[in-house]
Amino acid sequence: MKPAAFTYARPADWPEALALLGGGARAQAGGQSLGPMMNLRLAQPGAVADLRHLPGFAGVTVTGATCRIGAGTTHAAIEDGAVPGLLGRILAGVARRIAYRAVRNRGTIGGSFSHADPAADWVAVLPVFMGEAIAFGPAGERRIPLDGFLRGLFETALAPDELLRAIELPLLPAGTRWGHWKFCRKPGEFSKATACVLAVPGAPVRAVLAALDTPPLVIADAGALLLAAPEAEAARIVAGLGPLEPWRAALARTALQRAGLAAREDA
């Protein structure tokens, strides 16, 4: 359970980080996924570029109606309220259910999203927002819509020579309703099925169904999940996913129904 040998570098600025990446180094943020993978030798990078000391890597800024969350912002910082307002309350609730506090103190939102584990919590939630991922590459910054960022299992829209610099999310108006359900048998475990529902006043209700060993499914018009009896809509959505083991399909339907109900009851 010891990693293979690697060289370690701590880039002082973003161009230096890109140069290391270009030379074959593996980016590391909190190391809370990469560390275990290296110990298990599932990953054996010859060189590691530690992003944690890059300027602006962590931290949250609000400009107008947009909240920019640095890729290096930890799950724990978000749990503790780094993001303001209603959006912050929603994200804090998601963050609290990721792993354990000792892991959340190091693990980052950008590391989790870049890692693109289909069962990860940010992967299951961020695509519900009408936001963007800010990638940084040799040509500068590039914006990628959040619901197009995840391309497959452990696969994202980032090019090999790009880093994730930030996540930008719209602040949420009063009256926004939210529901979220993560199925795991023990707190802190990876999910077996996650659903979330976001109802912003004046906009179509959006939902995400995730953690089913497939990339997250974004439902762009999920209003029927807010009805008093969302069973039929949940069943329709899950049936559209293709073959799932019966227990998994049942978890998926129930996660959607419970997230819908929670959003319906969210004051």
């Binding site: 040998a5 690697f6 370690y8 560390g35 506090r101 000792a102 103190n105």
Partner: protein, 162 residues
């Protein structure tokens, strides 16, 4: 072997060690400094036995490697000998039979201390949630949960009197 100098502040004292970047913090502490209070179980972040305080907050020392720790401040279970909250937790762990073999105990104590300080209003459900990342194969957890609740209650009644 690409060994390099790693500077750390461990339990308040500045030290420099020669280590490969791949050495994880727990091995650095145990092998390099003979601070064997930090235990290793799973070595992939799941069991919590290796939990230490890293830059002021609990972290897994098995999945943070030496390179990334350069310049960091670490507090291991040995560094809490004179800490009043830890003393109360030790007494409560004894009173509530919160350990048998003791293998999980250093990580349990470091996690418990963070819970007591960060969540002074925690109830039993919250304590169970917060302690879920530390596995114990001996006790069945009831004593551990009671010990943490005991210290939380002591601190709440002390605050009420003050």
């Amino acid at each position: 072997m690409n060994r390099s100098a790693i500077s750390l502040t461990v339990n308040g004292a500045a030290t420099t060690l020669e280590a490969e970047p791949r050495t994880h913090l727990a091995d650095l502490l145990r092998g390099g400094m003979l601070l064997t209070g930090t235990h290793l179980g799973c070595e992939h972040g799941v069991c919590g036995a290796c939990t230490v305080e890293l830059d002021g907050a609990p972290a897994r020392s098995c999945i943070t490697h030496a390179g990334a720790c350069d310049g960091a401040s670490v507090r291991t279970i040995e560094g809490f000998a004179e800490d009043a909250v830890m003393a109360a937790l030790r007494a409560a762990f004894t009173a509530e039979h919160a350990l048998q073999c003791g293998y999980c105990t250093p990580g349990m104590l470091i996690t418990a201390r963070d819970v007591v300080l960060r969540l002074p209003e925690a109830d039993e459900a919250r304590v169970r949630e917060e302690m879920a990342g530390n596995l114990c194969r001996c006790t069945g957890y009831r004593g551990i949960v009671r010990a943490v609740l005991r210290v939380l209650e002591q601190r709440r009644s002390a605050a009420a009197v003050a």
